[in-house]
Symmetry: C2
Subunit: 403 residues, 2 copies
């Protein structure tokens, strides 16, 4: 059986994620991993989840917890999210919220909803690897957002027509972005909105790390800024993707999309057809835990990750040789390292796994065009401070020898 | 914002599932529902799940239960499924199993993996509504499998070329199919395999109801029959989709795909990009419950549903007027009713909800071409026997008045 004859053309653009493959390495106990954007399980609110699952499976909810439920998502969880969105300057109603199986599924569904083959998605260079993976299945062309080259809306639109489609959306992670750790300032957010208005396209705002700010002033989300302009979420083109993976627990696969009702209504149809609904009991458990301890729990993990970020930045400053640069994130889980141009971070990883037993993600995976071969991503979320210092020291020694 | 300008062409074929919309009616307590293929929550193994979730969240597994996990699925669950597949005559290994978020997701991923716009999917007339919904997103042409018209492989292939694609797969639910309740006999299974060989296409075997046989002899799955022919699952074109939704609980969203490794490897890439993995804790809980009580639990629900099926068949025989026909399923959850041709089951439903307060699914939703307007699907899974008798009596009275 020649399966290549049977597979659809879209499969040609699906490749194994380097991060997911790296995750398999984490089972080896002597590896120091700065790879995957993985929360530290020591910080999971396990007791709260024990109680929440136990509650869901008893009393009034015990039948519903195990039963089919509506594609839109569990009402009380959507209501809790409505309250959180309001705090961010995004007044909306339950009908503006769809529960997804992680924000990754939100990205997949948004690609599926908007991209026909040959359409253009505007993305950062670099950008979140999982967004590229999700969108690739719908065979878009990518164009570079915020290239600093001052291209006009017309330039983007003309280039998009060459592959037979049009620009459909701009995608960006605005706070402590994966992979760079950088935050888009207010002016840059407004600039993207201006461009989106001119092109008449959607904006996908990936807010997976938004709650994890350690210092600096919070900047209003793109959707909040657009609501200020337009007066109402129903008039907005921005689609906000949220996640509980970085705040409560990733293994439950619960995230959400917040957008104008025509978008949510279309996504509901899409979800009905694709997996009916996200697991009912998990939505109930997340709703309970979020309602009872969200703020105090997030304060706790912010304190822990913030200390690890400080530790990593200090270790980088102490050990990295001249010619190596890195970002100073105000939150999130990542520091982005740029090596001298002649160094290749994939080769470095191979060497590092062999001799230093330190894992990270080579940066080129985050570039739609495979450039960025001299960059790498370090995550500080999962290792304790002693381990971070030791891992950075070893990595810096390897880089110093290679420079 | 004109979202229709932004949405991809595939969204034009996405419509709300009538069943999912009907589900919302079930909240009204005076409705007798023969709609959705919904398990009776009174039969859920709730105590076993309470223990299983509690176990997953304590001891050795408590961190892993809440953490990211591999896209392939939880190893011990895949191993348990390998054992079950062996009992069905399908020897395979862990690498032949992917865990999906319900078998619905398996169907979505298989459509995504194989269908380019204009490709042909061979399906039954009628067929499972959710399969149509999942496949529609990939813009196929449908052709009718087992039409009884003796069309040759060449006829199918020639017709497929007219829309610029080729036949990619035949899809069928073989045991107590949704919606008809009918079972494909051994000769018909072999005939589909022969046709698939000639066309060089895949076969998707939807086995969602397979464990729910109440009487008659079990017939080996299509995949088992192909393994007898070929000697090894790796040489097989049949892709088997299983589910825990009808046996243990649908709300956890756990199902699986069993197929040759090139298929599983491609589906793993697709799942990585689409939702990373199915919820870790749910896979653990299903593994525990399946390992400890699967056989005894399934025996219990078989006994309950079997009695309800008998009750519905007796009530239909007692009350339905001449000219109404129905199937006698050997398992599953559905009886398929064919009314005299001049009756329209959508009109009947509207009337029934108003005056009789009895819900069912109009049959045309299960036909790719919208035919079957004089058919309807009754589910006997969720009502007790007194309710079944009363519901059928009311429905029969309405039909008698309309005939």
């Amino acid at each position: 059986m020649d399966w290549a004859e049977i597979f659809a053309s879209r499969t040609k653009r699906m490749a194994a994620s380097e991060i997911r493959e790296l995750l398999k390495l984490l089972d080896q106990p002597d590896i120091i991993s700065f790879a995957g954007g993985i929360p530290d399980p020591a910080l999971f609110p396990t007791k709260a989840f024990q109680d929440a699952f136990s509650d869901a499976l008893s009393g009034d909810t015990q039948d519903a917890a195990l039963q089919y439920s509506v594609s839109e998502g569990y009402g009380p969880l959507r209501d809790w999210i409505v309250g959180e969105m309001a705090k961010l300057g995004i007044p909306c109603s339950r009908d503006n919220i769809l529960i997804t199986s992680g924000s990754q599924q939100g990205l997949d569904y948004l690609g599926k909803m908007m991209l026909s083959p040959g359409d253009t998605a505007l993305i950062g260079w670099p950008t979140y690897l999982g967004a590229l993976g999700a969108f690739n299945a719908y065979e878009p062309r990518y164009d570079r957002l915020n290239s600093g080259s001052n291209r006009s809306a017309k330039d983007y639109a003309d280039a998009a027509r060459e592959t037979g489609g049009r620009v459909k959306f701009a995608y960006m992670s605005v706070d402590f972005a994966n992979p760079t750790g950088e935050t888009l300032d207010a002016a840059a957010r407004d600039h993207v909105l201006d461009l989106a208005e001119e092109l008449d396209i959607a904006v996908i705002e990936d807010a997976a790390y938004q709650s994890l700010r350690y210092d600096g002033e919070a900047i209003a989300p793109v959707l909040a800024r657009e609501i200020v302009r337009k007066g109402d979420i129903e008039a907005c083109r921005t689609i906000y993707c949220g996640s509980f993976s970085k705040t409560l627990a990733p293994g439950l696969r619960v995230g959400w999309v917040c957008a104008a009702q025509p978008v949510i209504a279309q996504l509901v149809l899409l979800k009905q057809a694709a997996d009916l609904h996200s697991a009912t009991i998990n939505q109930m458990a997340i709703a309970t835990v979020a309602t009872t301890i969200f703020d105090s729990h997030v304060a706790k993990i912010r304190a822990a990750y913030s200390a690890r970020r400080d530790c990593m930045l200090e270790a980088l400053a102490a050990h990295m040789p001249e010619g190596v640069e890195w970002t100073r994130p105000e939150g999130g889980m990542f520091v982005w390292v740029t090596l001298p141009e002649h160094l290749n971070s994939s080769d470095l990883l191979e060497q590092s796994l062999k001799t230093e037993r330190v894992a990270f993600v080579p940066g080129h995976a985050f570039f739609a065009d495979g450039s960025g071969t001299n960059t790498l991503r370090l995550s500080f979320s999962r290792a304790d401070e002693t381990t971070i210092r030791e891992g950075v020291r070893r990595l810096a020694a390897l880089i110093s020898a290679a420079v």
